[in-house]
């Protein structure tokens, strides 16, 4: 019996979601094959690389990142500087200062920061909260108002707050929405269904199905993304044909391998190298599983991952 090779070609494709406006707008998704299988189908857009800044400005960053923001103080200063770093497709402003157990900064004050960052850069913007579903819903709705016309990405709607966050995609704001779940593929699908049923257009939804640093429950992250992509392409599941984004920065820089300084762990060597390694390895792995965008912290990580994805997608824009 002759060997018949099975084609990996798919009749389905991932939706394209565009974030930002004008010349700097970036589009994620659009592929009709498994990640980087450019021989099986089209990959019209290379995976996107975002850089994360926080409302607290340079002081929030690890010392090994701070040096790249020489002369900067505020988040807006950082946004301006980061816009010129190689490989940065978009900027993600994390409003971590809203955390009631942390700085507990009021929403109005944070919105000043959002406005200042938006004025400082014409790159596409993403905004994330402080990992408190209720507070984040309020922040994202206010940010959607401030960023009206910027076609930004709101990170994210969760099971607990999607009813509120979905309004940021309404025509009056026109923002894109991240749909966040934590390594639960059934919930990931359910959230998409709920958003679609609420008439959020499919090309305004980006899935955020879970994140972790390499070695920290990471296999769940990979298998979740992997199964989402297989269902989207091989089972033509329309409710899962949205691009996937993975915020890597906060997870990668919070584990000991990246967070421990060289003074604390002299035998581990340079903290900067460890942090970049952690971030690059985590990002490369989620991209190989099917993620269409990653958010990173260190400029060198961004440069490395952007170069890798450009080389692997050969001609993807």
């Amino acid at each position: 019996m002759p060997f018949i090779s099975k084609s990996g070609k798919s009749a389905s494709r991932i939706c394209e979601v565009t974030v930002g406006t004008g010349d700097r707008a970036v589009t994620a998704g659009g592929e009709s094959s498994l990640p980087f299988y450019t021989f099986d189908g089209k990959t019209p857009n290379r995976p996107r690389t975002g850089i994360e800044i926080t409302d607290g400005g340079v002081a929030d960053q690890p010392a090994v990142v701070q040096k790249y923001y020489d002369g900067c103080v505020s988040a807006a200063d950082m946004a301006r500087k980061a816009s010129s770093f190689e490989g940065v497709d978009f900027i993600c402003l994390a409003l971590t200062g809203a955390d009631p157990n942390g700085k507990n900064r009021p929403a109005d004050e944070l919105m000043e920061t959002v406005r200042a960052v938006a004025d400082a850069t014409d790159l596409p913007l993403a905004v994330s909260g402080c990992d408190n579903a209720q507070i984040d819903a309020g922040l994202l709705r206010k940010a959607a108002q401030v960023l009206k016309g910027r076609n930004a990405l709101m990170l994210s709607a969760r099971e607990e707050n999607y009813e509120s966050v979905k309004k940021t995609a309404a025509p009056e704001f026109g923002q894109n929405i991240g749909a966040e779940s934590a390594d639960d593929i059934n919930l990931a699908k359910q959230l998409n269904i709920l958003l679609l049923q609420a008439e959020v257009p499919e090309n305004k939804i980006i899935m955020q199905p879970g994140t972790a640093a390499c070695g920290y429950g990471f296999e769940y992250v990979i298998s979740t993304i992997d199964r989402i992509r297989l269902a989207a392409l091989q089972q033509s599941d329309k409710t899962l044909q949205m691009p996937v984004i993975t915020p890597v920065a906060q997870e990668a820089w919070s584990v000991r391998e990246a967070a421990a300084t060289q003074d604390e762990m002299p035998e581990w060597g340079s903290q900067e190298e460890r942090g970049i390694d952690m971030e690059v390895e985590t990002a490369a792995a989620v991209l190989a599983a099917g993620s269409d965008a990653v958010i990173l912290k260190h400029p060198e990580s961004v440069r490395t991952i952007a170069a890798m994805t450009a080389a692997l997608t050969q001609g993807g824009q």
């Binding site: 593929i185 059934n186 919930l187 699908k189 359910q190 269904i193 709920l194 049923q197 199964r227 269902a231 091989q234 089972q235 033509s236 599941d237 409710t239 899962l240």
Partner: protein, 261 residues
């Protein structure tokens, strides 16, 4: 394995209102039934215009255009004993959402419907009957081989031949049903696609019982590997069963709202 393919059966000349709509080329009843079936989850519609001996080609062209124009080029299964009408339908068929389906060839007098499908790059339903209904699985699988070889000789892909074991009327033929289910398993073992007119199973039973019987039959047939069926998608119990079986078999991914999709 992909999601189970639901082919809607309700555009059939056996229903008098539909028969009249075909004959008079009255779009309203056709569009109404098509819309109801698609809303309920049909992905393809069977168009049975009956023998249509006089103006079959004209009717088929009209209905293919009518349905595809109104429902985003919905895939159609063209079902008539008038071969010229099937060819006429294919001549105006838009393939953007899938090939047309020729319904149907058998291993005897209608073997040449396979030729028609091959010549027009269509999918062909291959009913595993000869001059009469197959007596047992030896005979059924013999017809299956005849049909498969014929299609392959004509250059068709295996994927474009969907084998129909013929869903027997359960009432009166209870002793034959289990064997028919085993036949679906044999198709599945050979990697073949399968389909059939499921509603025939409950033919002659009281109206209230038919959805129960059809749902049980589809669940058992899907377990054997059935990949498609021509059914009434407006039978809620049946559609819920198909969607649930797709979840159990891993053909679709579970989400709490799966019945609403």
């Amino acid at each position: 394995m992909g999601k189970f393919i639901v082919i809607g059966e309700r555009l059939s000349a056996t229903a008098s209102s539909v028969n009249r709509a075909f004959a008079e080329m009255d779009p309203e009843p056709i569009l109404e039934r098509a819309s109801a079936q698609l809303k309920a989850g049909a992905v393809c519609l069977d168009v049975n215009i009956g023998p249509a001996e006089d103006n079959g080609p004209e009717i088929m062209k009209w209905v293919v255009r009518l349905l595809q124009d109104n429902f985003d080029n919905v895939p159609l299964s063209l079902d008539t004993s008038n071969k010229a009408a099937i060819e006429a339908g294919i001549s105006v068929y838009n393939r953007s959402r899938g090939k047309p389906i020729v319904n149907s060839a058998d291993a005897a007098g209608r073997l040449d419907y396979m030729d028609l499908a091959a010549a027009n790059d269509a999918i062909c339903i291959a009913l595993c009957n000869g001059d009469g209904i197959a007596r047992d699985n030896d005979e059924r699988m013999g017809y299956c081989q005849t049909l498969l070889e014929h299609g392959l000789e004509l250059g068709m892909s295996e994927d474009d031949i969907w084998f129909d074991p013929m869903f027997l009327v359960i009432k009166g033929m209870q002793d034959k049903v289990k064997e028919m289910l085993e036949c679906i398993h044999m198709f599945s073992e050979m990697g073949l696609h399968s389909t059939g007119g499921l509603s025939n199973s409950s033919n002659g039973m009281p109206k209230a019982i038919r959805p129960v019987m059809d749902s049980s039959m589809i669940a058992m047939a899907m377990m054997q590997g059935l990949t498609s069926a021509i059914v009434n998608p407006n039978n809620t119990r049946l559609m819920e069963t198909i969607k649930s079986c797709d979840i159990i078999l891993g053909n679709t991914l579970y989400a709490d709202s799966y019945l609403e999709l």
